[in-house]
Symmetry: C2
Subunit: 252 residues, 2 copies
C-alpha cells in the first residue's frame, strides 16, 4: 500500500498460546496504527522464554519500521520481557531511578511493602526512553524502533496512546465494507477483475458462519486503502457485480 509504514506486533505470554486467555490487544493496536498510516504486517505470539523473545525482536526490528510488544513487564517470575529486550540489544537491564521512586511512593501510600519483585518493574534496557503517562505508574518504553507495553488491555491502551507522538505517520489507511448474500465462488472472478483494476487497494473476502455476530450476510468484503475516492469506486463496482448477478449486497 502506498506511503504507509510497516509494523510488527509481538504478543508475549504462555497463556495466549495455550488458549487460557485470548488476546485483546492486537486488534486495538492494528486499528490505532492504521489510521496513522502504519500497517501491521505480521504478528508473533511467543512464550515467556528469553531466547524466543530475543529471536523475534531481532528478526522483526530489522524487517519493519516499528515493533510493538505486549506482556511480561510485571513483577512475577514469568515477567522476563525487559531482561529479554535488553539481551536482544546487547545492553544491561538497569534500574530507572524515576520509575523506582514513583513505584516506591505509590506502594508506600498504600502501605504495601516495596518488594524485590516489585522492583523488577522499575527496570528497563539501558538506553530506553521511558514514555510516562498521567494514568499509569509504570511507563512503557521505547528502545530504538521497539515499543514495549503491558499485556493488561487497559494499561496497554494508556501506554500506546502515550507512544503515538513518537511515531512517524503515513497516509491514513481507511476501511470500507460490503456485506453480500453471495457465495464466494460465484463472485470470485468479478472480484479478481476488480482487484486487478485497483492494485493500491486491498480487497479481502471473508465468508461468515451462520451464527456470525458480525453480519447476517454470507460474506463480508473488506476494501482497504489510502484513497477514499478509490475505495468508494471499488465498493460501487463490487456492489454492481453482486446486483448484476441477482445477489443482495449493501455497503456498510
Amino acid at each position: 500500500m502506498k506511503n504507509t509504514l510497516s509494523a510488527a506486533v509481538i504478543l508475549i505470554g504462555n497463556e495466549l498460546l495455550s488458549g487460557s486467555i485470548e488476546d485483546k490487544n492486537l486488534a486495538h493496536i492494528a486499528k490505532t496504527l492504521e489510521i496513522r498510516g502504519i500497517r501491521v504486517r505480521e504478528t508473533r505470539i511467543i512464550p515467556d522464554i528469553e531466547s524466543d523473545i530475543v529471536d523475534a525482536v531481532n528478526t522483526l526490528r530489522a524487517k519493519h519500521d516499528y515493533v510493538f510488544t505486549t506482556g511480561g513487564i510485571g513483577p512475577t517470575h514469568d515477567d522476563i520481557t525487559s531482561d529479554s529486550i535488553a539481551a536482544a540489544f546487547g545492553v544491561p537491564n538497569i534500574i530507572v531511578q524515576d520509575v523506582f521512586d514513583a513505584i516506591g511512593a505509590y506502594l508506600d501510600s498504600k502501605g504495601i511493602e516495596f518488594t524485590r519483585a516489585a522492583q523488577r518493574m522499575a527496570h528497563a534496557p539501558q538506553g530506553a526512553e521511558m514514555i510516562s503517562t498521567d494514568n499509569a505508574i509504570v511507563p512503557g518504553y521505547r528502545i530504538e524502533n521497539v515499543f514495549v507495553m503491558a499485556g493488561v488491555p487497559r494499561i496497554m491502551r494508556i501506554m500506546l496512546d502515550a507512544m503515538i507522538s513518537r511515531l512517524e505517520t503515513g497516509l491514513s489507511i481507511q476501511n470500507t465494507y460490503v456485506h453480500a448474500n453471495v457465495g464466494e465462488g460465484e463472485i470470485a472472478a468479478a472480484l479478481e477483475s476488480i482487484q486487478n483494476q485497483h492494485p493500491d487497494v486491498d480487497i479481502g473476502s471473508y465468508p461468515q458462519d451462520q451464527d456470525s455476530t458480525i453480519s447476517d450476510y454470507r460474506v463480508i468484503f473488506v476494501v482497504k486503502g489510502t484513497e477514499l475516492s478509490e475505495l468508494e469506486l471499488t465498493c460501487q463496482q463490487i456492489l454492481k457485480a453482486c446486483h448484476d448477478g441477482g445477489y443482495d449486497a449493501i455497503k456498510i
Copy 2:
C-alpha cells in the same frame, strides 16, 4: 514440559492483522491439542502473501513436530494458501479429482455454476493426504507434518476433529487455576520459590482488569503440567502463600 510434542500455528489473513476480524481459532486449536499432549509453542499471524506463507511454513515445520494453518483455502483471489504450501514444499498445486467431483456434484444439486474460481478449492499440493469428513465438502489436508485448515471457525473445527487421528500424542497437559485478591508484587517471591520447586510445572500469573469478564479476583494463576498430583500440590502451596499473607484466594 515432559513427554509432550510441540506445534506451531500459522493464522493466515490480512483481516486478522488489521483487526477487521478477531481470530477465533487459536484458543480452540491450543486446547484441543493440549489435552493430547501437544503444546502450541508459537503462533504467527501473517498476510495473504505467498513469500510470507512460504517462509513461515518452512521455518516452523523444521522446528516443531506439527504445524497447523488456518485460512486462505476458499475460492477468491486472496485464497493463496494451497499455492503457497505447494511452493514451500517445492511441488505443484494440483487438482484432487475426488474433491473436484464432490464440489461439482454439490454445486450442481444447488443449481450453482461450477466456476473456475470454485475449482481452486479442489486443489492441493501434490503428495497431500486429503482428510475427509462427513460434514464438509472441501476437506482439510496434511502434507508431511503440516495440517491445512479453513479459517471459518465452524469448518476449521470439523477439519481439526478429523485430523486428530493422524497425530501422535504425548502426556495430556492439564490446567488448574487459582484466583486471588493479591497484588502480583506481594506474592511474586513466594510464587517464584514454588515455581522453582516444580520445574515440570508451568505457573503463569495474569493480572485482571477491573472490568475483566474472566474473574472478579485481581489475579489468576494458571498452573499447567502433565502430573495431576503435582498440579494439586502446587495449587495448595499457592493458596497457602496467599492465605498466609492475609489474601483471599480460591482454586477453581
